[in-house]
Subunit: 202 residues, 2 copies
């Protein structure tokens, strides 16, 4: 193996280790909450030494930040995937099916509420939840502006309000899925799509 | 004071004590999470002895249940207040202003996410969040069915889906207010109303 190959191998090994820690931490946070899940508990769940964990993550907040970042990247790639579509709004409305699949993932939502609960007593986590929200929201605003086509352009506040209502629909559905395990999914999909069409085309 | 008067006085005193405990517990849960806020901590914050707290509430879950119940009663009275309106759907759409005020209460939302986070690791709290959701949702379904007037009646699943999307809009906006302290509220209101009108009249 040449030097470059070795470095790449180490890079992907480090990446795999990081993901292993994040998956273990996710499970520990859900089981015990952030306070209950110490670095030692996370290390045990990840089958590593505590020192090894600290090699990858400075502290628990850094682990939370990395988990939130994974989620942000996933949302961003979902939003970006419609960007090249010829009719942007139609592509966004088609994408609702996939967005609904994502928000029905109870494990992900449970962690989201755990992070939001922690944010109310930990200013660093509060800052993280607010900052991590800005990039997807900004991208959504750009798509709303770009997709106007022949429609009149909108003032910035109008665009932000539309992005917020679209985000509220998906984040609200996440909460609904936690509260009600029997969501009538098939009947909800066309309502979600109609609401988003209305918000975009209004 | 006659006997009845005395009993009434004791009843309202007990009620005041219960509310004093609930307010103290609310603050403790936000500050320390459910695990961090022991009955002793709650007693101290309420300026009472621990024994006194147990006189009113069997355990921490009973306190959580009472806080959730307060919130459910508030939501129910909001939904009920439109019931006698001549045009039910119009009254529901007018009510969105008030509903938005409620969901912008960050302290209430922070406690809601704390309860939902606890639900993912405490089956009794999970049961509580699911049960407490059913009464407001059922009432909302009844209003949606009653308000059809000359429109054709809807199958039950269609009604439930509409109620879920309305609930998602409000609960989603709660989460948005936590994530983004600069919500463009005035621009969001007509979008919320239009979405709810669409969901009702579709």
């Amino acid at each position: 193996m040449n030097k470059v190959g070795k470095a790449e191998g180490e890079g992907s090994k480090a990446q795999a280790r990081r993901e292993q820690i994040l998956a273990a931490a996710h499970a520990c946070f859900l089981q015990s909450g952030f306070h209950g899940a110490s670095m030692a508990v996370i290390a045990k769940a990840a089958n590593m030494s505590v020192g090894h964990i600290y090699h990858y993550f400075e502290n628990k907040e850094a682990i939370i930040a990395a988990i939130v970042e994974q989620d942000v990247q996933h949302v961003l790639s979902n939003i970006r995937s419609v960007r090249s579509a010829p009719r942007l709004y139609e592509a966004m409305i088609d994408k609702v099916v996939e967005g609904m699949d994502d928000v029905m993932d109870i494990g992900k939502t449970a962690l989201m509420v755990e992070v939001l609960a922690e944010a109310s007593r930990n200013p660093r986590v509060a800052e993280l939840t607010q900052l991590s929200d800005q990039t997807p929201l900004k991208l959504l605003c750009e798509l709303i502006a770009e997709g106007r086509e022949e429609r009149p352009a909108l003032p910035e506040e109008e665009i932000r309000a539309r992005a917020e209502v679209i985000a509220a629909l998906f984040e609200g559905l996440q909460i609904r899925a936690l509260r009600n395990p029997d969501l009538p999914r098939a009947a909800i999909l066309p309502l979600m799509q109609d609401c988003i069409r209305l918000v975009l085309e209004r």
